[in-house]
């Protein structure tokens, strides 16, 4: 045990004296969390709270135009503008305004759109009631959408879906009104026929339900997503200092002594892992505290750790162990410090991309989604999501924790095997 403590003391001293390494370990991840959360929060807000700027030109000035204007204003998917530089917007200005990036989409509701719709409805009813009068030809009116090419397909789809819904709603209302008028014409005078009021409520609606109790009350936001994701990324980046530590011992000759001292190399590895796991846990606590205390100071939501602090700590510990063991393996495999640094950083970037740190795994193509299930960063992220978003407890994180621990053991096993082979060459 004394040997282990001596090796841990040595590792701690080496770490404390490497100021750049400490910077990489603590300052960089904190900056990363701040920057990524703020950036992604802006994106979240753009989509949900502040809204994307959309320009509407209502040349219709009738039911459809007003319905679209009111609907877009209240739907919460955009920030609706009807003027450019304080002046009522004109159709000929929209293309230039969108090109300049002032608006992501411009919607032009043409003059007479409601009249055309009304006429079309009237024709349809007359035709179905067997009227013989010749229907006037109705010109088709088009709602013009001018779209900035940077607009995401999904956002454009959500806007067109909303427009379709508004058109259908107005059309239904017009049909009801026209139908009432036609009935009124058919009912003899003196009868007590009273036209029914249009009731816009739907017979079939929909209800959003989340697969867990917690998620129903907590909307996923930039903090809930980014703090665990970038914390995992930073924790796995401990691979770089671990690789550096292993490689330095190789290049500075200490490994040479380890082979002949009566203490196994495994002990040195264990000491390294214990110290770096401790560092990872400190990193974790610091980064969680950013989500809990510092991000709210910038107007961001407070990080919610869910219902199981022990679950959070267990996932963090398993992640730390997996990251440390992976670092030791990369350091053992690499021939030079440069090789180790490149292999370590690139592999973490790839594993994080695959693991859903950068973009959620569910939007990846099938093949990548399958591959993502083999990324330890994905296991860790899912562990935290189970706690932070799905409201699960300790039982919910075990599958992820066990995968991380298995990864830790595999890395350690490989490291030991490679070392044994190299020692006796």
């Amino acid at each position: 045990m004394r040997k282990l403590f001596a090796a841990m003391k040595k590792e701690t001293l080496l770490l404390l004296r490497d100021r750049i390494g400490l910077g990489i370990l603590f300052i960089m991840p904190m900056v990363l969390i701040f920057v990524m959360t703020l950036i992604q929060d802006a994106a979240f807000r753009t989509l949900s709270e502040q809204g994307i700027p959309i320009l509407l030109i209502n040349e219709d000035q009738d039911s459809l135009g007003f319905k679209i204007e009111h609907g877009m204003r209240t739907a919460g998917i955009c920030e609706l503008h009807t003027t450019i530089n304080g002046e009522p917007a004109k159709e000929e200005q929209v293309a230039e305004a969108v090109r300049q990036g002032k608006y992501l989409i411009a919607i032009v509701v043409p003059e007479g759109a409601t009249a055309a719709l009304r006429m079309r409805v009237s024709d349809m009813l007359e035709s179905s009631l067997g009227s013989t009068s010749e229907a006037a030809k109705v010109d088709m009116k088009e709602i013009r959408l001018v779209i900035d090419p940077v607009a995401s397909k999904s956002f454009v789809t959500s806007v067109t879906s909303s427009l379709r819904e508004f058109i259908t709603s107005v059309k239904t209302q017009l049909m009801f009104q026209t139908f009432n008028e036609q009935i009124g014409l058919l009912v003899p005078e003196g009868s007590d026929y009273t036209p029914a009021e249009y009731d816009g409520t739907l017979a079939i609606g929909y209800k959003e339900e989340y697969a867990s109790e917690l998620a129903g009350s907590k909307t996923p936001n930039a903090v809930q997503h980014n703090v665990p994701a970038w914390t995992i990324f930073a924790m796995f980046f401990i691979v770089i200092p671990v690789v550096g530590s292993v490689m330095k011992e190789k290049s500075e000759g200490s490994v040479f002594r380890f082979h002949i001292i009566p203490a196994s190399y495994f002990l040195q590895i264990n000491a390294k892992l214990l110290v770096f796991t401790g560092v990872c846990m400190v990193q974790f606590v610091l980064m969680m505290s950013i989500g809990l205390f510092f991000l709210p100071m910038l107007g961001l939501p407070v990080l919610d750790l869910g219902n199981s602090i022990s679950g959070v700590l267990i996932v963090a510990l398993a992640t730390s162990m997996a990251a440390g063991a992976y670092g030791v393996l990369v350091g053992t495999l690499a021939g030079t410090q440069q090789q180790g640094a490149i292999l370590g950083s690139l592999s973490i970037l790839i594993l994080s991309a695959l693991g859903g740190i950068w973009v959620p795994a569910y939007i990846m193509p099938d093949t990548l989604r399958t591959i993502s299930e083999f990324s330890p960063l994905n296991w860790s992220l899912n562990g935290f999501y189970s706690l932070f978003l799905r409201g699960e407890g300790l039982a919910g994180v075990w599958p992820h924790v066990l995968k991380l621990l298995a990864f830790f053991l595999v890395c350690l096993g490989f490291t030991t095997w490679i070392n044994q082979r190299r020692t006796q060459r």
Binding site: E252, F258, I260, A263, Q424
Partner: protein, 249 residues
């Protein structure tokens, strides 16, 4: 009375995968207890490979090494405690102080804390390193690093000490200090096995030498006796006579 052999090397061979010729080509010799044994040879002669096999760092392709009467291969774990090594390259942590390095290596050998502290102080004093012991190794001169490198290999008081060119690149003062203390250790009963390019130093320091070249043992015996037997004026003359003057890579 002649002392018994502490190391017996028989038909030792090492063939590296990537090399055409064997680094060590079936050499046999023995080293008596309490000897200062010099393993001499030009660059690439096989000295470091031989010494690495003798202290268990490199596995021999064939042959046998017996250390303190035990087979090195099978009893390496038990023998480790009795071996000390001072590698050619400085094997220290540059960002730790000299004392911290010594405390770490001493602890790895399981030397009891109090005894370790005493030995460290004692050796730092002997090596005239007391005042700089708490400075980081990276700030040391080449000679200071060599001296700490030596202390790190002897804190556990091994029975056999392997030194691979311990005085390379150091000034005369440091070399003199190192040699003087190695003599002292030898006087206390430690067997010293040493490689060097300093033939004059080896001639004065070693009780017995072996000259190897291209993996073959060319001569072994007491330095002066070998010089006389080959009609040479000194060890350098003998060395050149046996290994020839062609440049080595």
């Amino acid at each position: 009375m002649e002392s018994k052999a502490i190391i017996e090397v028989s038909d030792l061979k090492k063939q590296y995968h990537e090399a055409d010729a064997p680094a060590v080509n079936g050499i046999s010799f023995s080293i008596r207890e309490n000897e200062i044994f010099g393993l001499l040879g030009p660059n690439g002669a096989g000295k470091t490979t031989t010494i690495s096999m003798m202290c268990g760092l490199v596995k021999a392709t064939s042959g046998n090494i017996r250390l303190m009467g035990q087979d090195l291969q099978t009893s390496f774990r038990n023998l480790k405690m009795h071996l000390g090594i001072v590698p050619q390259d400085i094997a220290l942590y540059p960002s730790l102080t000299g004392r911290e390095n010594l405390e770490f290596y001493g602890a790895m050998y399981g030397v009891e804390k109090k005894i370790l502290r005493q030995r460290i102080d004692q050796w730092l004093e002997k090596m005239e390193m007391g005042s700089s012991a708490n400075r980081r190794v990276e700030s040391y001169s080449g000679g200071m690093k060599r001296r700490i490198n030596l202390i790190a290999g002897i804190l556990h008081e091994p029975k056999v000490l392997f030194l691979d060119e311990p005085t390379v690149g150091v000034d005369v003062q440091s070399r003199s200090t190192i040699i003087a203390h190695l003599r002292e250790l030898n006087a206390q009963g430690m067997t010293v096995i040493y490689t060097s390019h300093h033939l004059e130093e080896a001639e004065k320091f070693c009780t017995e030498v072996a000259i190897i070249d291209q993996g073959n043992l060319l001569a072994q015996g007491e330095a002066q006796a070998l010089v006389k037997a080959h009609n040479c004026s000194d060890l350098e003359g003998l060395f050149l006579k046996l290994t020839h003057k062609a440049q080595r890579n």
